[in-house]
Symmetry: C2
Subunit: 279 residues, 2 copies
Amino acid sequence: MKVSIIGIGLIGGSMARALRIAELADQIYGVDSNKEHIKVALELGIIDKEIELAQTPLQSDLIIVATPVNHIVEIVSSLLDLVTDQIIIDVGSTKSTLMAAIKSHPKRGRFVGTHPMAGTEYSGPQAAIPDLFINRCSVLVDIDDSDRDAVELVENVYRSMAMTIVYHDSADHDIHSAYVSHISHISSFALALTVLEKEKNEKRIFELAGGGFRSTVRLANSNADTWVPIFEQNRDFVLDVLDEHINTISKFRTMLIKKDFQGFREMIEQANQIKKIVN
Amino acid sequence: MKVSIIGIGLIGGSMARALRIAELADQIYGVDSNKEHIKVALELGIIDKEIELAQTPLQSDLIIVATPVNHIVEIVSSLLDLVTDQIIIDVGSTKSTLMAAIKSHPKRGRFVGTHPMAGTEYSGPQAAIPDLFINRCSVLVDIDDSDRDAVELVENVYRSMAMTIVYHDSADHDIHSAYVSHISHISSFALALTVLEKEKNEKRIFELAGGGFRSTVRLANSNADTWVPIFEQNRDFVLDVLDEHINTISKFRTMLIKKDFQGFREMIEQANQIKKIVN
């Protein structure tokens, strides 16, 4: 299979590497407005050749759109105008805006909306790793609007990366992504800013940073180009979960002020329940 | 050297294992009010023998107090009443309360307050790992109140575990621990509670939890017995940094409400500065 990848960053680059290991891609073409990304991706063997966006339908069986979400609508729409039976997927973190925009396109069936739930705090092709997706979950969105053969190929692609697959509609996807993934990023950005504000002595932060702080603040390294458009598109659901988060932190504050350490203990023990789910 | 460890949990157990690998301890005795901890620690070879608390000065050259911080004051005070030239250290996360309590003890010089900045979200002797401390920092507190030979032995112990050593006074230690370590725990507890509250479907959390969410929520597994006394003793400094944290998260909220995505971007880029310090 010939594959084109639009946006050779952490996710697009890791998809390329995983597809090559799974022997699903004979040829991988790359499109990226950042010429440094193309250079690095060629050097690292992530892609075989640079290609123009408009050439990808002619040259490939599968086109993977892995740009920041603010560019996905325009790119997918322009590709749908060009495809015959090729398949296009995106791997973006928000879905409602995109799905609404292409809903009535005559070629809508050739597109499959996907969100592989994996990532690191790093970005760019040099951050791409082939085993990023192993044992993670990929969400396929609004598949009733996609052609059956397109969905089957995409399922095959993700299964070849050792991913499990779940199916959501686009609104559900965006709500649940806000509740789990997007709020984690704000929490980590805010922790980093708090520590940088209170602890003016950077050497002290370095000295006192144990494994726990490093883990909690890891996502604060995430790229603004990727994340600002996600928060922009998913603003309402993020605001909803953000209010809950502020309320929860404020409860910890109230208990400290009141010296209600029994209540504080109960909240910690309730938080410990997360270990049944993610460990 | 003969070593007694009071409290064979994650930190006490890991100290035992690290001391054995560094060949600094010939015999390791264990004290723990939890008899299951003693049983596991004996089975895993973490300690050689159980011992009574009051026997530790007679039987050991170095006594390491690794209990939750609410028990440390009483234990250290009672041990200071018994020692001649043996050395006692603690490894607790708060220091001001303890240091004030033992300030005038005639044997104060035999005690060294320490805080090795390392940990995981797990607890108990089964969580002990010998390389927990490698490349981390250990804080030695108020060393002017300790005898020179005691400080030198403790420096030697931590250097043998490949730790770097810094020196703080106890108030400084507690402020900076609140600013870096203690706030990270509240942030992670609050994130877990938020997600558990909003996302009632636990299967959804499991499916959508990528590496980022797992990392940010890791500390939410931390043990209430360890952490409630830390927040109790360090309440005022924690409240100070907690207010800053709530303000910062509220700023993200305000920017979303106002759709000020340029401001949102600037905050993310500022948060990214943390990578210069902890990566």
